[in-house]
Symmetry: D5
Subunit: 147 residues, 10 copies
């Protein structure tokens, strides 16, 4: 059976050979770059028509479409990530986690921001003292139930 | 010696008694709510005039100003946070960390987003299917050195 | 400042002295026993009128009401619980976690059961070969976003 | 020697090719979907006649029947699961574990709910504000021995 | 409120002052030494009449009886114990765990030995090459449910 | 070179094909079932004549005898075992470890039970309320040296 | 697809066969030895012309150049390194970490030394009581943002 | 008995009251700032005359001198430090550890840099694109023994 | 009740005031310095007459004698010690553990060196290239049982 | 490329076929058994002439000599070793680590025993109550630098 890992490898290979970018691929299937990359890594499941679109765009074998549409099993192996680019986000959660919690509660009441009904973008913001990375996250507020 | 923990306790007590919000406090010292909360928690150091402003706004003892201005030692005890509101952000880093890395590299070249030259905001976005939490982060892109 | 831990101690003490049960307390404030216990332990925040009702029912000091209404910070210290009664539930998640995931996805599509918009009950089911504990959980299905 | 992992792979492959669901397979061998899935994953051992039934239903090689009937070795590798669908159940145990313990003790006396003499179901409950996942667990109450 | 830790301290103090042994105490309340010690340590709950018997035997304050009768919360802090006397038992579980599992399954079918419906004794067996410690455990066999 | 893992695989295969039990194999080499299983798993080294006896009984290749006689390297990978049958023994050590220590010291003086000069048995004890697993361990008492 | 690990293997093999040193290789591509080694290990990405230079110097296959230029994913598997040569540096961070922090803050204000805009060298300093290793690090000071 | 922690507190208090810097204190006792800070934190032991000098300089109680001269017990509690300023050095060891090892071996032969016969300095290097932190370490090369 | 920690504090205080060394104390009670120190730290139990001797030598309160004679609970909190002097021994076990095992087995047969019937000494060996620490351990060989 | 692991395998195979002991091999290359075993395991690097001697003695392929002479990367995977023979040494470090530290400091001043300029031997000491394992370690004393 073809696995999500197999399909990820095919995508990376096709992307490199065709000289594509994630943004370019995302555009071809009319989805955002963040979602497209994470789904290609096997961290999100494709809606069927998007799976078909990707298979067409990258000339993947037809069997890949059903694999892309399977629900993902989201596993990461490092509880504390070591890569500096990812660690910095971990650090932000460590430093600002209680702050995010306090402000969400102040604005919305007792509850959380969903990581499921969620979207995110990454943008480049030119700046004279050095360009800046802008990350925007948006998640549905979920109120704790009392029963 | 008065410690940052002592001052945090004084702030929380004054805030409760005066019925203030973090947004209200932030406004009084003309800083953002995210930065204000994290600095009050001892996770950031106050510029001196902001320390004075806070001491005045909350009627803290004068000694508190110099403590607020000390550099913070940023410590968190749970490598994996358990509180659901904070865990969801940890989960986002686990699931989307490699995606953030790939897109930053695609847009900027090899490097990272700084967590030091950094700012963040939290906003409430009304939505008919349920209000949404919007978190915006912005950090300077830092390019890896080759030497 | 009175903390949630202080109030929990007061509740346990009042409960023991009055010879109450959690079911009895829950009934007095017209909430379920599971929610009532967890909120008294500081793991959930009380709606204001419920906080007032508990303060009245157990003759707690008035200041306790506002503490009970504060958002909880949910912390547990043992990543793997040692108490046998709690460990068995951890074991069930370890053994049946992938099964719960597979069946939820089969019935609902790709997504999860919310642990926030969530309720639970515990019931005693008499049985001739030995009484049984029945635990019922219900959580809103949350579908992963594609964007 | 054929292992439980080998047989799990055969089952997944046969299931996919035949377009079956876990509920459909469970029905064919007259067992519940939860038990069926977990036993197919190698987390439970099949009674012999059920092993034969599954081998027949999915046209597995005959040798698979004895493998399915072997006692399972229940191993999970992540002390804290990362997949969001499974993590939420872990979170429920963390948040509500002491509550489950307190209510079981209040209703039954000092003891635990068995995770061995145990069954579970997953149901879809339609709801206007969004369908709900209902999980029902039932385990024999086991009283601590005093001797 | 008096806690189980408080009562354990009182028992140890009374035991030392009166020059008692755990076997002697166990005899006075007509229970086994293993159970008596573990219950005095707060790792098991006393049946009410045994709690009364212990309070009488050691002249503890009356309030201690109800505390001894409370359900225990069984917590140990070292996942791998360091004390050599306890570590050797941990080592036995590590080395012989799969053997215990294989032989229990061979004799009883698929299932486990209960650690709840369980008793244990420690005996001194004189031996010319050096006395031996004999530990006998007995637990109810629990068969895995299929449903 | 043939390894202990290789020989374990050969033993399991021969045992299955011949429909043997561990007790049957133990009897053929005139050793106890506990020791026989653990040595076949590579957790104990065979005396030479027992290695020859096993090779003969199961028709293993002659080279296996010297491998069986090599000293074992005892490794287990899970500091806290997940399989329920093994976990229960871990739990017993967690709950009753301090009790075993206290009673051994009371009976023997300061020291430990050896896990090296050690033997163990597993027996089935029929019981009307459900059969019981009886585990008997015996280890030489080792007194701490003072020098 | 050729991976960074593949290219590292090719480099090590070419280096051994040609009897080169890291300093020699570094000189050929006109970079420092520290950077050259770490980039050859896959811990830094090559600027394109340096990748070409290395491919030429060591007669690597042309495809290796693009792999060398890919952004690195920096992963290390031992949170606490065991090799004595590396552990000593870990120990220095443990012992002198708070000192580095205090002196950086005293000299620069609240902030950190960048590990990204960073360079390092290793030199041999002859000394009569035994030669000394000199390690020089230089990183841009990054000031914490207040916003 | 006065402990090293007590003396550290006295030093910090005296330093704050007198408005001193670590460099200033170091100068007064004619030692380097890095060593002075770490010894004041209890991470190094003072030679007796330096202990006397510090006691005099900061007007500490005389008993402090003998405490400052005691050998330190070097303990740090976070295997992976969370404070960003310290973490960056940890990251450098993770990323460049194998490089430091390879270059030390290339220059000196098989061995390590001592962390005991060791010294370090921190300097501010003005730079037009932003000032830089320069850290210089020097440790005696220790060759592995063959015997 | 006086604890072993209390008595350790009294010993350290008496030792400092009287300007004693561990060797001096050991001589006074006619035991070795290694055993004496470890027993004073609470890591070994005193034979009664040695406890009396220590109480007399250091003028401890009489109650201390019975506390010194209690069996120790040997606990250490750092699985990997951070103090460099202790870490080096941990490193030796990591590097040479398999070697110790292989040579013990080669000389004695399958078994271990006892850490209970055990003694140790530390000696200073003058050497022109720098004095050496000599550590001698001796433990009874324990042969694995076959049964 | 031939790795250290490959050469270790060749050595073990040659040793078994020739019926050699580690002591015998050590004698052939005129080194100690402890060093010889550890270097054959890849935990120490061979001086060139010793590598040649081993290659000759065991008839290894010539390429093995240069591999044996490479600096070792010392890695162990279990922070707490499970094999009883190795664990006992770990336990000794846990129990007696602070004692070793205290006595080294008392005899030598503030510093450590080197694990690099280090040697060790294992001897069998016949004893009427059971033979004893004698382990002798010797390491250069390294004094902490003050600067």
């Amino acid at each position: 059976m073809m696995t999500k890992e197999d399909v990820t490898m095919m995508i990376l290979s096709a992307k490199k050979q065709a000289g594509l970018t994630w943004e370019g691929i995302a555009e071809q299937i009319d989805m955002s770059p963040v979602w497209t990359h994470s789904a290609c890594m096997g961290m999100n499941g494709f809606p069927e028509e998007k799976a078909e679109a990707l298979v067409a765009a990258l000339a993947l074998p037809q069997e890949a479409a059903s694999v892309l549409a399977e629900p993902p099993t989201k596993v990461w192996e490092q509880a504390v990530p070591t890569d500096p680019c990812i660690y910095r986000f971990y650090e932000i959660v460590g430093v600002y986690g209680p702050t995010l919690k306090a402000l969400i509660e102040e604005k919305f009441g007792t509850g959380i921001m969903s990581a499921i009904d969620f979207d995110m973008s990454v943008t480049k913001v030119p700046h004279e003292k050095g360009d800046r990375v802008k990350v925007e996250m948006s998640g549905k507020f979920l109120s704790y139930n009392s029963w």
